[in-house]
């Protein structure tokens, strides 16, 4: 196997690790924070479903990201992934939850700047608009779900202990679904840029399961995500879980459900076809950030309760993180590309 490829892939794996460290907190952060699940249980479930989602659901790169910048050189892809990973890692280190999608978008815009290519402003506008729409929508969905669940438990006289058991199971199921969606949607962000140049051959497991070369690549990316989940996500997870607002297990379930629904809305082609058939405005199919969905849902519930329990300073830190992440990724990518091209003499873009 080409060692150069493996070297370049390392930045993608590093980004995968950062994604695992960060985004697992979105899936199970509230469940672990409310002590409904142990961290190890959450980490094992998240890892299994992220791998399944990546290998079986991560069919290709994101079209929207592709439209933002067509990265056509391996060294360029390496630097984009590295810049995104470094900014996500830095934020994770500061215990601020960030969006990996934002980091990637920032890094791609940085690559566009370096190459002197015009960034497709309408696509960028569409993506940035979802950074605002997504948390608001998620907050609204969370409020509706929370009110519905409160009503349900008032009408349905189920024992408090039984409620606890149901919520625990629902948290596992919805968390697993979210982990699958995370693997499917974000694996393209992690190693998608390497898909064209991957040298892996297809693997056959005793004639029962067979993976294409791309699936092997995605599997490697997913493994990096798993390592991130196990080694670093616990730190970030506690911010989402408890610091932003003290939550009940019921609220924790609402947060995960709202996240799953919002991710689905922004990635459902079926829903878009339905809206088009009734001449309604389409929803942009953009890889939205699960972080923003989670924070939006938590704030939605907090505001419903009168806003007293919300730790606004942590909320402010998170919003600041959203602004700094794409900017940091963009600047890092720009500077990194300069070094790679002029010091290491690598081709970072094709004309």
């Amino acid at each position: 196997m080409d060692l150069t490829f493996l070297f370049f892939l390392s930045s993608g794996l590093f980004l995968g690790w950062s994604l695992g460290a960060n985004d697992a907190s979105n899936i199970f952060g509230t469940a672990v924070g409310t002590k409904m699940l142990k961290f190890r249980t959450a980490a094992v479930i998240a890892s299994i479903f992220v791998v399944l989602g990546a290998v079986y659901g991560g069919s290709g790169g994101s079209d929207t990201l592709g439209q933002l910048g067509r990265v056509n050189a391996l060294a360029g892809a390496f630097m984009i992934a590295l810049a995104a990973a470094l900014s996500v890692y830095w934020m994770a280190h500061l215990r601020i939850t960030v969006s990996t999608s934002q980091a990637i978008v920032g890094a791609i815009v940085g690559w566009n700047f370096y190459c002197g290519r015009a960034t497709n402003m309408s696509v960028l506008g569409q993506i940035v608009s979802t950074w605002v729409i997504c948390p608001i929508l998620s907050g609204v969905v969370a409020v509706i779900l929370f009110l519905f669940m409160r009503r349900l438990f008032h009408v349905w006289h189920v024992h408090l202990l039984r409620q606890d058991a149901y919520i625990r199971r629902s948290l596992i199921v919805t968390g697993a679904l979210c982990a699958y969606a995370l693997g499917a949607n974000n694996i393209a962000n992690v190693v998608g840029v390497f898909a064209q140049s991957q040298p892996f051959e297809s693997i056959d497991f005793g004639g029962v399961i067979s993976w294409s070369g791309q699936q092997v690549l995605f599997f490697l990316g997913a493994l990096a995500i798993c390592v991130g989940i196990f080694t670093y996500s616990h730190k970030v997870l506690m911010t989402v879980g408890n610091n932003l607002m003290k939550m009940s297990p019921r609220a924790a379930l609402v947060v995960v459900l709202a996240q799953a629904i919002v991710l689905l809305i922004f990635s459902s082609q079926g829903l878009n076809a339905f809206l088009t058939s009734y001449h309604l405005p389409k929803i942009p199919l953009v890889p939205v950030s699960s972080t923003q969905a989670v924070i939006g849902a938590i704030l939605g519930i907090g505001l419903l309760k009168g806003g007293r329990g919300i730790n606004w300073s942590i909320g402010g830190q998170i919003v600041l993180g959203w602004l700094i992440t794409p900017l940091a990724a963009m600047i890092l990518c720009f500077v990194g590309l300069f070094f790679i091209e002029n010091v290491f003499r690598q081709v970072v873009f094709m004309l």
Binding site: L161, R162, R169
Partner: protein, 219 residues
Amino acid sequence: MFNVKLSLFSQTKQLEQKIDAMLDKIIESAMVFKKAVDVYLKEKRSDAYRKLSKEIKTIEHDADSLRREIENRLYAQNLIPDFRGNILELVENLDKVINEFDEVAHQFYIEQPEIEPKYHDKFRELVGQVCDCAENLAMASRAFFRDLPVVRDYAKKVYWYEHESDKTTAELKECVFDSSLELAHKLQLESFLSEVADIADLAENCIDQLLIYVIKRDI
């Protein structure tokens, strides 16, 4: 590694049954206590009273072991993390009410206070109010687990019966001290009346806390 076992629903059901059994014990102890006092007023320390007093002791023992099992299971199975502390407190307070029933019944057995027949009706009334208090506390606690809005209805009843028991106790104490009994006898009766009224006070404290848990659960 997985703390969520397949048998969690059955374990949850067992714990639900234990909490229900604990609440049943309060109702049982109140009913047996009422009957025991009635027997005492008629027959003083008879065999029948001895049996009833023993029955309350057994109920108290059972309630103690139920409380310990509930506490162990809640922690061992890591159940309802956000309410575990409150439930433990509730179960402990309920246990205190049962303990008080046992203590008062035992005190009757040991001290054998002389209660004149003219006080019997008022005394029965007081015991009835105290037992109603405890029974409504048990119903309010059961509602806390299953039907939250109803807790307030039972709480209202507990408060009302506690208030009534205070009035009855005051009236009885007044009668006792206005009588020509020996001072030692008066003081003994006063202490008994206070002990019985304390059961209603314990139930009232328990309800106060329960209502706070209701607010906490509702948000």
